[in-house]
């Protein structure tokens, strides 16, 4: 079989190259990072971000945008830290209800033809409020199994890398290979033709939102496993980070064009960009600005490739 370089491949190539360039730069600045421990420290916090990015990608795949992912992941983290250690069944029940709520949100958005941005903006207040109610002041505790899972010592390849690979492959199978994935992307591409072919767009959208909620819950749990406890504001930045990750990974806001592997790579790249800056030692005044500059440079890299693509 001959291998064709399609637009989809180039789409994936861009984040991969950005990641590689950043990684080389980081290794050059800080050779110590080039070790089992170093890679783990660089990437372990990218695991929950990668999960949240996949969650965002599922919503973007049906042409919607989720502004509540940050607060929802925080909420899931609070539930995990408060209930999982002592009353795991209650914790699992609450998280299951939350996923159902996500699916319900998808249903309302579709049935009433509501703009997803507004509904998820509203829901972000709701999740934030619930998180504050569950955990008014920071605390809680990671269940032991979760903590040991997130700090597992995998042979040869650090856990963070293994986990990212697994997330990428699982998401790829669901979104790119399974029939449900085809339907989800189909709704993003042309909902009308999907419904004309006899599918229920409602069910597809509900499924996409439920899956998204599921991945967000996983993100919240992974986060607690890493930080050992939670607070109500713990993951607020995941909203923008997940959107940036999807875009960086070659996804587009409309048209159902997404790439799960790209999204995971995008999440890793964004995490690494932050570390790169730390290693540069910029004056505190400009550290925040430098984060912006790195985002610009990394996304600007896409330009070189898209020119070639054209």
């Amino acid at each position: 079989m001959k291998i064709k370089i399609s637009a989809d491949h180039i789409r994936l190539l861009i984040p991969l190259v950005s990641l590689a360039v950043l990684l080389v730069a980081v290794f050059w600045l800080q050779p110590r990072a080039m070790s089992y421990l170093g890679l783990n420290l660089l990437f372990n916090l990218a695991v929950p971000i990668a999960l949240a990015t996949i969650a965002q990608m599922l919503v973007i795949a049906v042409n919607d945008l989720d502004l509540s992912i940050g607060t929802f992941v925080s909420f899931a983290a609070c539930v995990t830290a408060v209930y999982m250690p002592s009353t795991p069944l209650l914790g699992i029940f609450i998280l299951a209800v939350a996923i159902a709520a996500y699916a319900f949100m998808g249903m309302i958005i579709h049935l009433r033809d509501l703009p997803s941005i507004v509904v998820t903006l509203g829901m972000s207040f709701v999740w934030g409020g619930l998180a504050v109610l569950i955990l008014p002041s920071p605390g809680g505790q990671a269940p032991v199994w979760l903590r040991s899972m997130m700090t597992a010592q995998t042979p040869i390849i650090p856990f963070a890398i293994v986990a990212s690979l697994v997330i990428g492959i699982v998401a790829h199978l669901i979104v790119m290979k399974s029939t449900l994935g085809v339907a989800i992307r189909g709704v993003g591409g042309n909902a009308r033709s999907v419904s004309r072919a006899g599918w229920s767009v409602l069910r597809i959208k509900v499924a996409a939102y439920a899956l998204s909620g599921f991945f967000s819950v996983l993100a919240g749990m992974a986060l607690v496993g890493l930080t050992t406890s939670a607070d109500a504001n713990i993951a607020l930045r995941y909203t923008l980070l997940s959107i940036a990750g999807v875009i960086l990974g070659g996804g587009e806001f409309v048209g159902g064009r997404v790439s799960p592997i790209g999204a995971v790579v995008g999440a890793l790249t964004l995490t690494l960009a932050g570390s790169f800056l730390s290693f540069l030692r910029i004056s505190p005044d400009w550290q925040i600005g430098a984060q912006g500059a790195v985002l610009i440079v990394v996304l600007g890299l896409r330009l070189i490739f898209s020119r070639r693509e054209a």
């Binding site: 420290l41 660089l42 920071p138 406890s229 607070d231 930045r237 505190p284 925040i288």
Partner: protein, 317 residues
Amino acid sequence: ANADTSGKKIALSNNYAGNSWRQAMLTSWDKVTKPAVAAKKVAAADAFTTAENQATEQAAQIQNMILQGYDAIVLNAASPTALNGAVKAACDAGIIVVSFDGIVNEPCAWRIAVNFKEMGRSQVEYLSKRLPQGGNLLEIRGLAGVFVDDEISAGIHEGVKQFPQFKIVGSVHGDWAQDVAQRAVAGVLPSLPDVAAVVTQGGDGYGAAQAFEAAKRKTPIIVMGNREDELQWWKKQKDANAYETMSVSIAPGVSTLAFWVAQQILDGKQVKKDLTVPFLRIDQANLEDNLKSTQKGGVANVEYSQADAEKVIADAK
């Protein structure tokens, strides 16, 4: 000194730079650590700030510091618990972690804490002296779900329990941002009965005063938070109509205390894990002095020297 710290590197991990208190904190750090580095007391004292005020971002920052080979990390934490994973990793790598202001509860770290509860309680105590017959209080809180907010508020409520002649008739979240506080106060004020005093968490006093003025209400006793504009306003009221209040906050220069404590620990000193620093309180009598020493538009501040740190450590023993 048992060991030589001239080869040791210290990093400041800061989670937020978006208000004048944090800016003063960074300036103090700079002012104190530069000469210390020049005098070869330590090899480096680098400050790092995250872009967004988020625990996850700060955790990544700490993990990077581990890789960069710092010997000590001085930490103002976004969350007392959410950084525990990263702090534990740092301790495991043999790094000294000293947290201050926003402290962490991971046992391996040192804490330079302000008794925030007491800071809240003392406001009500002060008011009980000014208003023996009591009255209605308006509480301006900080950011929901954050440790410091919870602590100060708990202290205030403790104070109200202790002095039951006071009653909290309204409580709003000002997110420690002057315009948010002003907005929130302006929103509830019309529906509040007479307010005798406003208890705050620092920095919201001026906004509250403005809101009362805009609503044409009698200015209550507003507890201030050591910002220069608050002190100016207080001075103006004091000169005009003998207005009386107090002002209390944690001094931003506590970062320099944490720096010296870290240096002392690196030096091999035995230091207790929990240290406390007093908060900085300004009263009617020392208002003018404090105003003079405070930078225009800044925050009342004190910086600490190595000797101060040694004293704090010794006192704790």
